[in-house]
């Protein structure tokens, strides 16, 4: 019974396969433009060393996240495990790439350090806000409280 107090492990299971695919197509409809425009803006910002473009790039990615949340609300679903995994991997790769460029001594990451770090920080903040708004502080915390899962 404890499991249902956590954020659902298979959040789209109640949908039939066709509806699940429909949701996938809907999610892609949001992420395709948000992802492409976000990456293009980040690339332009890094090429021209203009913080405005970098901020706009992160704003596009956040807009994609907001769109994804909206789809979940409309369809009564949550983020699926695969979606969360993909997000974590992409986010981790983004941070790793930024750190590698920084360590390699590139000019762009130093010149754009502040907007990039703020952008990278804004994403987990947005995720945290979403969790708190949707599930409340306690349930949001419980879902990350891995220690309690090992309690006998």
């Amino acid at each position: 019974m404890r499991a249902d107090r956590h954020i659902a492990a298979s959040p789209t299971r109640h949908l039939d396969p066709a509806a699940r695919f429909g949701r996938h197509a809907f999610v892609m409809t949001v992420w395709l433009p948000a992802g492409i425009s976000g990456l293009l803006l980040l690339a332009i910002g890094y090429r021209l060393l203009m913080p405005g473009y970098v901020a706009a790039g992160f704003a596009a990615l956040l807009a994609g996240f907001a769109g994804h949340v909206l789809i979940n609300v409309l369809q009564g679903t949550h983020f699926s495990t695969r979606e969360v995994a993909l997000w974590l991997v992409s986010y981790g790769m983004g941070i790793a790439y930024f750190l590698m460029m920084l360590l390699a001594g590139s000019v762009a990451p130093r010149a754009l350090f502040l907007p990039t770090v703020l952008g990278l920080v804004s994403i987990p903040i947005a995720v945290g806000l979403y969790l708190v708004i949707r599930y409340g502080v306690r349930r949001a915390f419980e879902s990350f409280d891995v220690i309690s899962n090992f309690r006998v």
Binding site: P17, A18, R20, F21, G22, H24, A25, F26, M28, T29, V30, L32, P33, A34, I36, S37, L40, L41, A43, I44, R47, L48, M50, Y53, A56, A60, L74
Partner: protein
């Protein structure tokens, strides 16, 4: 830039194929292939309809014309509000008619309602025009775009065939549902990329300077009059085409896309029961988002292009492409992809809908009525293949003929408006009236477009007028005479047994799906406000917008604005237009579908055994031909 653009295009094509493959895996029922079993999710309709409305104006051409003709041409963007109004008026009723009668497709709906094979044939011809020359023309545009973007390194024909293949693969695999899912993603991508370029390109394009330079009196920021008494393009050349009547009549042609066979199939294959899908689409997606892309993005881009060029942009893809290539490479790629996907989604929709309608309305009904679901899917795939091959052939080998045929497609589509009014709202419009109107209207359209002018001058004599006489688009020429004919003929044919048949559907509408226009005052306000909006936004009243926000009324001094007066007028009437569409779609419930649909109605009773569906007049004509015998020699 070339490598990045090609990679982007290929990635989009790969995504479309991936989506199509997933579609067929999750929806393996062969009956789904042609029309998604009538269960397309509402959200996909919202995005797809907005994309189609945007694509009807062909953003690449719109950008090019706006940079050449200025804000006078930009005014036609208000046509999307007209398209939203047309969608509000018809989509819900068409969906209901399809659900009540159990049929899909425009030809089936009109054919059943008017009990007329001639009406069916007319709509099939229209479908064919959309599917082949019109889509081929768009494919040609896409090919030109690709050639220009790739710096003329590839042949036009090669580009066209490669692009056709890229569009064909997802279509043949995924069917109707896969195609609709594909175009939803392309719609959002197109809108976002265009918006991104307009905002991010401010540095490169200097659009702010371009707009600020549009001071009062600048011809590029003025509508050149209500109309011009010229013979039309090619005969007594008008000094400017985009007069208020030119704009108004052109918006009618744009709005025709909302009642085209392809969009009606999209409407009738959507699952919309108990939802506000149609209202949301008309108000927020077409009049809102798609319109915003045209109203807020293209003028900025066009102003920026003019500022970069230093003068009005010459017509032609090369001029536009050369300016675009000069931008930041990433921005160029984004812009080329943005305008490219809007063309792609339109071509995909027209080809796929043509194939589906061909199988459902012709093959399944007349030729092979006992075809299994798998057989219908196979036939659909064959039809898609043939359509894409013919489309690519037309686009690559016969561009002039294709352009001539494509130019009459949208104006001819609007000639079906009285027939749709009869199906959805006005029960006294009769079959004879509809047919007479379509014939008269179509003749007017053909003879005010290059197609009729070329044929007539080649066969007989040169006509004394050219294209769009008096700067009135052929759509309005045709519709004016069409409506007059419909009214005249309906006076004499509005009753009789045929009327009883038409009343059956309208009685269902009245009993189960009545609208809520409110009391007499509210009803009057709704229609009068709509007409007033049309007069001032796209009608002769728009001429006031040239100077009203810039020329001093009380003081002699002109007001200094950051943008031209006409642009302010356009934005103002766009916002008022959104309000009107919202009022009609939500408050009058024109776009809200009730949870419970009226009981089914059989307008197509089963024929007795051994009875052919071929109408008597066609059978008789064929018999007469068959009975002709060569005269015996004495």
């Amino acid at each position: 830039m070339t490598e990045l653009l090609v990679a982007g295009w290929l990635a989009l094509a790969a995504y479309a194929v991936y989506l199509a493959a997933l579609t067929i895996r999750h929806h393996p029922d062969p009956g789904d292939y042609l029309d998604a079993g009538g269960r397309l999710p509402g959200w996909s309709f919202c995005f797809a309809a907005a994309g189609i409305a945007l694509a009807a104006l062909i953003p690449y051409a719109h950008l090019q014309f706006a940079a050449h003709f200025g804000l006078a041409y930009q005014h036609v963007a208000l046509g999307l509000v007209v398209a939203a109004l047309v969608a509000t008026l018809f989509h819900k009723r068409l969906w209901l008619a399809a659900r009540i009668t159990g049929s899909r497709g425009l030809a089936n709906l009109l054919g059943l309602h008017y009990r007329s094979v001639a009406v069916r044939i007319t709509i099939w011809c229209l479908t064919l025009l959309f599917t082949l020359p019109f889509a081929a023309r768009l494919l040609g545009h896409l090919g030109d775009l690709a050639v220009a973007a790739l710096g003329h390194d590839v042949e036009r024909a090669t580009a066209i065939w490669v692009l056709a293949l890229m569009l064909f693969l997802p279509a043949v695999i995924g069917g109707w549902r896969g195609m609709v899912y594909g175009i939803t993603a392309q719609t959002t991508l197109g809108v976002v990329l265009l918006a991104m370029v307009a905002v991010a390109g401010a540095v490169h394009l200097d659009w702010a300077a371009g707009l600020l330079a549009s001071e009062p009196g600048n011809p590029a920021s003025l509508i050149p009059g209500v109309m011009q008494y010229s013979g039309g393009i090619g005969a007594g050349e008008p000094s400017a085409v985009w007069t208020t009547l030119g704009i108004f009549s052109f918006t009618l042609a744009i709005a025709a896309i909302m009642i085209s066979p392809a969009v009606v199939l999209l409407v009738t294959s959507t699952e919309a029961g108990g939802q506000r899908t149609f209202a949301f689409t008309s108000v927020w997606m077409i009049a809102g988002a798609a319109m915003a892309a045209l109203m807020l993005v293209t003028p900025l881009l066009a102003a920026g292009l003019v500022a970069t060029q230093g003068s009005a942009l010459p017509l032609g893809y090369s001029a536009l492409a050369s300016v675009l290539i000069g931008l930041d490479p990433l921005l160029s790629v984004a812009l080329f992809l943005g305008v490219g996907v809007t063309l792609q989604l339109f071509i995909a929709l027209l080809a796929q809908s043509g194939a589906s309608l061909l199988v459902m309305e012709v093959l399944d009904r007349y030729v092979l009525p006992d075809l299994s679901a798998r057989g219908r899917r196979f036939a659909g795939r064959m039809a898609v293949t043939v359509i894409f091959v013919m489309m690519a052939l037309l686009a690559s080998t016969l561009p002039v003929m294709t352009a001539a045929l494509a130019s009459v497609t949208l104006p001819l589509a609007i000639q079906a408006l009285p027939a749709l009014l009869g199906l959805c709202w006005v029960r006294w419009i009769s079959r004879s009236a509809v047919l007479t109107g379509i014939i008269v209207g179509s003749l007017l359209v053909i003879f005010t477009e290059p197609l009729g002018l070329i044929i007539f001058s080649a066969l007989f004599v040169e006509l004394p007028w050219g294209r769009w006489p008096w700067t009135i688009h052929s759509a309005l020429w045709g519709l004016t005479f069409n409506v007059a004919a419909v009214l005249l003929v309906s006076i004499f044919t509005r009753g009789g047994e045929e009327r009883l048949h038409r009343d059956r559907l309208h009685d269902r509408f009245r009993a189960h799906h009545a609208q809520d226009f409110g009391g007499p005052a509210a009803r009057g306000a709704k229609w009068s406000l709509t007409l007033l909006w049309a007069f001032f936004a796209i009608g002769p009243g728009a001429i006031i917008g040239n100077t009203i926000f810039s020329r001093g009324v009380i003081q002699a001094q002109d007001a200094t604005l950051a943008m031209p007066s006409l642009y302010v007028w356009q934005i103002t009437f766009w916002l008022i237009g959104v309000f009107i569409v919202w009022w009609l779609a939500y408050q009058a419930r024109l776009g809200v579908v009730e949870t419970k649909v009226a009981p089914p109605l059989d307008l197509d009773p089963p024929l007795p055994a051994f009875h052919s569906r071929v109408p008597a007049w066609i059978a008789t004509s064929l018999q007469r031909f068959a009975d002709i015998r060569p005269a015996r020699s004495p």
